[in-house]
């Protein structure tokens, strides 16, 4: 996908071609970082845009002093628990709604109500009920991730290829076993797609909740660093949480590819 006509590797011997290609692909990013380094302290004040070197130093520092560790740990815990909950509940609900009309009738209306609601608007409400901190963040992450997962799981479970079900039936699969033998495996790719869609939302809601209603976590650290004028630390924290989100998104894609060898 990232290949393009600019890249004509005929002349480079094979073992190096891959590395060279990788470098070539990432030159734009390098350029951007270099530009940032040059601009910072010249065109704009260093306090407004600390140079990458300062941010890198601050990143190292955040880990060296251990300052970031408890925040990172609590953020990871929140996003992990929230996402896991949404996966469990979302899959059960999504498939449950496809199997039983009563379940569908009961939950449909709630889902249609929270569907158009930007979940971060519920932070103040969560704050009211649960106070500030982990419970609130987990709830918001959970709600934000729930819908893509429910919708994908439900959609897939309702649209399992009819002929697959017929195939199983003609080979002697009973109703009960049909669910495990056909419906679930046929739905897994879509469930994973739902989770993939949910991951960015998990991070957005985590940071939102932490910015608004938390005394710990990466969002809080960003806000504190900002309000105390520790800008390199603020940027460093953003870089760290972005790296985590990046790893989560693309790591999950790798995992999905590995799990779904058959698709």
């Amino acid at each position: 996908m990232a290949t393009n006509e600019l890249w004509t590797p005929e002349r480079i011997p094979d073992p190096f071609a891959g590395v060279a290609k990788l470098l070539f692909d990432w030159i734009p990013l390098l350029l951007l970082v270099l530009g940032w380094e040059v601009v910072s302290g010249r065109a704009v004040s260093e306090s407004v845009l600390p140079p990458p070197t300062a941010v890198a130093a601050a990143t190292v520092d955040l880990f060296a002093t251990g300052e970031v560790v408890p925040h990172l740990a609590v953020s990871l815990l929140r996003v992990g628990v929230g996402l896991s909950l949404s996966i469990v509940v979302g899959v059960l609900l999504g498939i449950g709604m496809s199997q039983s009309e009563a379940v569908e009738n009961f939950f449909d209306v709630f889902l249609s109500l929270i569907y158009p609601l930007p979940k971060t608007a519920l932070v103040p409400l969560a704050l009211l009920w649960l106070g500030i901190g982990t419970k609130t963040a987990v709830l918001i992450v959970f709600l934000a991730c729930l819908l893509p997962i429910v919708m994908n799981a439900n959609n897939a479970a309702e649209n399992v290829d009819r002929n697959l079900i017929r195939s199983a039936r003609m080979m002697g699969t009973s109703d009960r076993r049909l669910f495990w033998k056909v419906v679930i495996p046929a739905t897994i790719p879509e469930i994973l797609t739902g989770i993939r869609q949910a991951i960015p939302f998990a991070f957005i809601s985590l940071i939102s909740a932490e910015l608004i209603a938390s005394e710990q976590g990466m969002g809080r650290l960003i806000r504190d660093a900002g309000s105390l004028g520790r800008y390199p630390a603020m940027f460093a924290t953003i870089v760290i949480i972005s790296a985590v989100a990046y790893t989560a998104v693309y790591g999950f894609e790798q995992v999905r590819e590995r799990v779904l060898v058959w698709t």
């Binding site: 017929r166 195939s167 080979m171 002697g172 699969t173 056909v182 046929a186 058959w262």
Partner: protein, 260 residues
């Protein structure tokens, strides 16, 4: 159990009220055990409906359909369907697909494995046991589907345009394989196709259906000597005659309705 099929006064209506469509109207037809019958007819005439009724996937509105003299009641392992779109389980490898019916029947692992391998070999799929369906071409997928159905040994094979999505040379190869299997395994085959040549080439009898709502129009007996190579069969006079006969009969049904 010999795999005979009896259809009498079958009527099938879909939907209700304004949505109501009669798909099959008063169709009677008997198929002997071990016979190879093709069904041709205009698009939408109810061929798939008929097949799925025999398979037990659809309820009937009126009449009776019985297998070995017993009215059918849902799907059963005495019948196996081969779908045009293969309907392989995408999350199972070739081998695992072929094993499915044997697992469901509770066949012991080792025996199941041997049986599955036999049909994989029969369908020229050796070497592809651990591939997933997505890695196979259309022709190979259809072979897997056939192997999967043959493996659990249904007496009756129900095939819904199984080669419809393949191109001519592949079709011909698979047709020849199917004839061999039929000769070896003694199955009743009901084969739906749009391709008159295919119908005549393969089957002992061809049922032509009228257009929507479908019923039996005519039945052509084909008495070919299928022992020689394909070249000889398709260039024989009998083949050409039968083909033209079926084609003409079918054309009467289709001609008037293909205007937009």
């Amino acid at each position: 159990m010999d795999g005979s099929i009896g259809i009498s006064n079958l009527e099938k209506v879909y939907g209700e009220g304004t949505e109501r469509t009669k798909a099959i109207d008063d169709l009677s037809f008997d198929i002997d055990g071990g016979e190879f019958v093709s069904v041709v007819g205009p698009s939408g005439c109810g061929k798939s409906t008929l097949l799925y009724i025999i398979a037990g996937f659809l309820d009937i509105t009126d009449g009776t359909v019985s297998v070995d003299g017993t009215p059918i009641d849902g799907p059963g392992t005495d019948r196996g369907v081969v779908f045009q779109d293969y309907a392989l389980f995408p999350w199972r490898t070739v081998k695992e697909n072929v094993l499915y019916g044997l697992e469901e029947a509770g066949v012991p692992d080792e025996e199941a494995d041997a049986t599955a391998q036999r049909f994989i070999d029969m369908m020229d799929l050796s070497g592809f046991e651990n591939k997933y369906p997505k890695e196979l071409s259309g022709g190979m997928k259809q072979r897997v589907a056939l192997a999967r159905t043959l493996a659990y040994d249904p007496k009756i094979l129900l095939m819904d345009e199984p080669f419809g999505a393949l191109d001519q040379p592949l079709r011909e190869t698979l047709q020849d394989q199917l004839i061999d299997i039929w000769g070896d395994l003694d199955k009743t085959v009901v084969f739906i196709t749009h391709d008159v040549e295919e119908a005549v080439y393969l089957s002992e009898r061809v049922m032509i259906m009228t257009r929507h709502p479908g019923t039996k129009k005519t039945v052509t007996e084909v008495d070919l000597d299928r022992s020689g190579p394909r070249e000889d069969i398709v260039t024989s006079d009998e083949f050409t005659r039968k083909k033209n006969e079926v084609w003409r009969s079918l054309r009467e049904e289709t001609k008037s309705e293909v205007q937009p």
